[in-house]
């Protein structure tokens, strides 16, 4: 029997059928882009580490999808939120160029992986010092509030980064100022090799919200619609003047911290249990069982993703690295270039 072409069950969360397909597209694009990167990594074309978000695509995509790009919302991702960047308009070519340190990468070869930004499209890249972005995004949200703009900021924080002082200071400031900020707390089980029980004495990250006097919510991070729904409530609260919400998304990091890490510290059974809850497989089943997508619809999306990624890799794979002397430019607006050391002058 062919899958029905129109939905038979009401679509939740106020989404349209096209938007449901978009969610699938972004998750598939995220996973396939990372798979492309793995190939390039094995060919030593990726410079530096490669960070996978396998199994966390729903959390990144569903939460970013709850923002309103037309209104100018801005998010700040963590290393496992590639999907959120794509939703906000970052392109696979940009990500590939970043990982391969190309001259034409958004940071011109100065920064790694998904540490890049475009405030017009609505994303502000993280730095490696975890927690800082909560404070910085509170400033972005402060600017929205001061200018009476109906815009929302969203910042991701992990179970590890919630142990930093910067997280505390940033969230507390945002709470006191009642800023339009959503804090997505990704509970993915491990920070590098450290399990959450060695990171915090609370059972769930959402319990921390009460200590700051802000709203808290929790969702299954591997269910993209549940993620969207919970984040959307928080975004609506922020936009309507209700202040900060901490949204805990419960998910699991199914790869090591980066490609070099074989995850020996994680029990095999734990990984297998989460494989069975793969967010993309689950979503595909959900879409087809409910009649919100035909198998052919999803196959067409897969094909589109594959073609886009092939074209993206072909476009930038052989591009040059940055001109070495460009390293001196743009430390400050004035002077425009740093001094060349005397032993390099001819």
């Amino acid at each position: 029997m062919a899958a029905p072409t129109t939905s038979t069950t009401p679509i939740p969360a106020g989404l349209s059928r096209a938007q449901l397909h978009d969610l699938y597209y972004w998750m598939r694009l995220t996973r396939s882009l990372e798979e492309k990167l793995v190939n390039l990594y094995r060919q030593t074309k990726v410079i530096g580490g490669l960070f996978r978000s396998l199994g966390q695509e729903a959390d990144a995509v569903g939460s970013a999808f709850a923002l309103d790009r037309a209104k100018g919302d801005i998010l700040s991702p963590l290393i496992r939120n590639l999907g959120s960047l794509l939703v906000q308009g970052a392109t696979p070519v940009e990500v590939l160029r970043q990982y391969m340190a190309k001259a034409q990468s958004p940071t011109r070869g100065r920064e790694l992986n998904i540490h890049f930004n475009d405030l017009q499209r609505g994303f502000l890249g993280q730095i490696s010092h975890l927690g800082d972005m909560v404070a910085v995004m509170s400033g972005v949200a402060l600017a929205f509030k001061m200018r009476r703009e109906p815009r929302v900021g969203l910042v991701y924080i992990g179970d590890g980064a919630m142990s930093t002082g910067a997280f505390h200071e940033g969230l507390n400031f945002a709470a006191v100022q009642k800023l339009p900020l959503v804090v997505v707390a990704e509970n993915n089980g491990y920070a590098y090799s450290t399990p959450i029980r060695k990171q915090t004495a609370v059972k769930f990250l959402v319990e921390k919200a009460a200590g700051y006097g802000v709203a808290g919510d929790q969702a299954d991070g591997n269910d993209v619609l549940a993620v969207f729904d919970a984040t959307k409530r928080a975004v609506d609260r922020a936009r309507s003047g209700g202040g900060v919400t901490v949204v805990e998304l419960i998910t699991f990091r199914r790869k090591g911290h980066a490609e070099h890490d074989n995850q020996s510290y994680v029990p095999k059974a734990e990984i297998e249990a989460w494989e069975a809850r793969d967010p993309i497989d689950r979503y595909v089943r959900h879409l087809t069982e409910k009649g919100w997508a035909a198998t052919a619809d999803l196959a067409a999306i897969d094909q589109r993703v594959g073609a886009e990624l092939d074209a993206a890799v072909a476009l930038c794979e052989n591009e040059p690295l940055p001109d070495p002397a460009s390293a001196l430019l743009g430390v400050l607006a004035d002077p425009p270039a740093a001094d060349l050391e005397w032993y390099r002058r001819t």
Partner: protein, 325 residues
Amino acid sequence: MPEVTYLEAIRDGLREEMERDDRVFMLGEDIGAFGGAFKVTDGFQAKFGAERVIDTPISEVAIVGAAAGAAHMGLRPVCEMQFIDFLSCAYSIITNYVATARYRADLKTPMVIRGPSGGYVRGGPFHSQNPEAGYLHTPGLKIVAPATARDAKGLIKASIRDDDPVLYFEHKYLYRRVKEQLPDGDLLTPIGQARMAREGKDLTIVTYSAMVWKALEAAERLAAEDGLSVEVLDLRTLLPLDDHAIVASVKKTNRVLIVHEDTRTGGLAGEITARINEQCFEWLDAPVRRVCGHDVPLPFAPTLEDFVLPQTNDIVAAARWLASY
């Protein structure tokens, strides 16, 4: 022309910039209702409102981080550190996030972090620090340290208008002790330019902030008692250093004494010495010498603090050594 103290000059500069540009706002601890621990922002909250003069939690990381985020969005924040000693609480976010933002990501981060630095006020180890050397080593920052009321005003205004992050170190000993007549209206001191505080031909003292006044005092005594003509160069900007002015003075007097209140090891004097060595070694008639704070945390008791910090007598003695070399 009205006579204005160093503190009033900072206040006037801040107020004028807030009046001139509604993107300018302030964040800090107790700066609003109370007007700041030293009353630099006295009356600001009443005049500009609580949204532009924000009383924050005791959270230096949040103050700096929020300022950076707002600056990315086109605002021009001014952060107050209640004492500059607490700047170190935000060291990571300043050096890792703020200072690198333009270089790594083309992020505009026009913001000022200001606060009272310096000793001679019996403040003890945590209310007397001179932290400039800790930030000098950070590409992407600018650092200024005014000595006069004119430059206190001129540099705060220039810092606010600068398109990069500026650390503005005001000296609390000078707040109410230094005053001068200042014209009303715009007064801008260019960042990156030293000031000739006193012309001379026998010896140059390179210094900044409160030490400018001790150097001038020493120069007077050396003129009266030794007949020495001492030049005093007030750096005003510590990052980027005005190499041109330093080298020009060295070529003129051929003897250099560098004076700073901050401790000796790893201090700014070492960097200036290296630059003189690199750029005008053959013009020197004597080794470059320095008068700095002793390498100890700053103690509280007056006898201890006065012993540890440079005094005018120290500068006179060091200058005599150099002049007779």
